[in-house]
Amino acid sequence: MATADVALEAPAARRLFSLARPARNAWLIVLGLVWLLPLWLLLITPMKSTPEYTSSSQWALPTHPLRLLSNLRTAWDSAGLGAGFVASLTYGLTGAALAILFGSLGAYAITRLGVRLGFFWFILVFSGTLFPFQMYLVPLFNLYTRTGLYDTWIGMALFYTAIAIPFCLFVMHGFFTTIPSEIQDAARLDGASDFRIYWRIFLPLARGPIAVLLLFQFTWIWNDLLFGLVLSTSDGVRPITPSLLGLQGVYANSGPPVVLAGALIGSLPTVILFLLLGRYLLRGLVLSTGRGRA
């Protein structure tokens, strides 16, 4: 049973939260509904045609919800969204996976392999996440145009991997320090090499943090706007979020229904990923082995 439950089921707790559970749940449901309210417009607007949208209140329910499909198609075709969708999918998966791999390798080295100046290496890599990202834009653009990485899949993939590494290092480092040294010692006694210990023991133990990192980093990469804009431009290389931007802008003439249909397309994979991985997480995977080094 979760700790929160233990704490709150206690008689003392019931006195503090003097509302009975049904009342508390009612308030929570209200909060949940209010939380979702801003998304309501995002849902009903793409179900209207633009003339329908401009003729009635934005709150009016759509008369023909299936207009959603036509808006989705328009959005998909208008701004190179299809190609962007696929591109972002590949960047998200590759970038997140590689960043987790490299970050955990580095975290392992710092925490377990006795690398000298561990804190220095940690802060060196972690500092990559401290800078305001816009400051990378112009130098990266110059670097990419000079080396021919501009507007290439590999250029984007390398960047997304690099930028996802610091946070992965951060989390994996935190996790690895909680693994008791006994596990490592026992494995060494059995003759396992350092790498084997990493691959066979530490990584599997880190299933929880890895799932979290996969979710967070994929979402970040998928939702990135600035770097996709600056470092790429052709269909197939440019990710989806910058492509969506093309539907807006002063000279665009698609109305809100098409723009928001595009936003729906842009949001779908991350929502699906969350539904897949989130359940796995929310059921409560351990972020540590619970016992520490004592």
Partner: protein, 292 residues
């Protein structure tokens, strides 16, 4: 090379990929920006070295003061709202079926992009047709209805609310995971001793949660300095520059006005602040976690 020397080198092979990638794609551009901040670059033509002139101009710029203050509001706001509410939700939500659905509901906004969040909340705050004012009028509180994104500092707080709506999910999630991992014995022992829920929380739960709290506070702290997409989409730092933060000012100077050298100086300054905060913070957390 002897086996032992090779052996001593192998740990560095583990470090190599991540250091290499981060070095080339993140640290090199950062260093380049520091160089640019010492020039009067406009992105066009040749840039000439001007020393610390950009930095001295920064401190004379009235927009900089506003920007700096707004950044502080953001840091405070994110720490209080995002971290505080995230913790509260994690504590309140148990593992019933309803709670599981609610956890999904609260996390959902985190799956959409900051730009999309900005657009959605821009609509929410629209003075005439927006959700907030319409709701207030419906509840008979029309007097409270206002142009949320117009007057400083209300406009900054409004955007912080939008940011919290989106960012609460991950912090709540992390706290939930942290709560799962607290050993049950201390809690049960305290309850047996008759501790009140408040006492329990303050003296037992919270200290045991410290490693996760450290992570969440650290991430939120750093992110609060860097918020950009949301602000740009909602107000572009306006009206009349009243809601700019250092990150927004940097972008505006570099990409709207093309004072690229000046913008780079702002970026360097912002980074220096974040770096100082982060190093102090991480050092403390680094050691504490190892002890745990």
């Amino acid at each position: 090379m002897t086996a032992s020397r090779l052996g001593r080198l192998t740990p560095y092979l583990y470090l190599a990929p991540m250091v290499g990638l981060v070095g080339v794609f993140l640290l090199y551009p950062a260093a380049d920006t520091v160089w640019i901040s010492l020039t009067n670059s406009t992105g066009l033509g040749k840039a000439s070295y001007v020393g610390l002139e950009n930095y001295s101009n920064l401190f004379k710029d009235p927009a900089f003061t506003t920007s700096f203050v707004n950044t502080l509001y953001w840091v405070a706001g994110v720490l209080v709202l995002q971290v505080g509410l995230g913790l509260a939700l994690a504590l309140i939500l148990s593992s019933t079926a309803l709670a599981r659905v609610l956890k999904g509901v609260f996390y959902l906004p985190a799956t959409i992009s900051a730009a999309a969040t900005g657009v959605i909340w821009y609509f929410v705050f629209n003075p005439d047709l927006g959700l907030l004012n319409s709701g207030l009028r419906l509840l008979g509180l029309g007097g409270l209805a206002q142009s949320w994104l117009v007057n400083p500092p209300t406009n900054t707080f409004a955007m912080i609310a939008a940011f919290t709506w989106q960012g609460l999910g991950p912090t709540m999630l992390l706290f939930l995971v942290g709560l799962q991992n607290i050993p049950k014995e201390p809690i049960e022992a305290a309850l047996v001793d008759g501790a009140s829920p408040l006492r329990l929380f303050w003296h037992v739960t919270l200290p045991l949660l410290r490693p996760m709290t450290a992570v969440v506070v650290g991430i939120s702290l750093i992110n609060s300095f860097k918020v950009f997409d949301l602000i740009w989409v909602m107000t572009q730092g306006g009206p009349y520059r009243s809601s700019e933060t250092l990150a927004v000012t940097m972008y505006r100077e570099s990409f709207v006005s093309f004072h690229v050298g000046y913008g780079a100086a702002i970026a360097v300054l912002l980074t220096a602040i974040v770096l100082v905060v982060a190093v102090f913070y991480l050092r403390a957390m680094f050691r504490r976690v190892e002890v745990y």
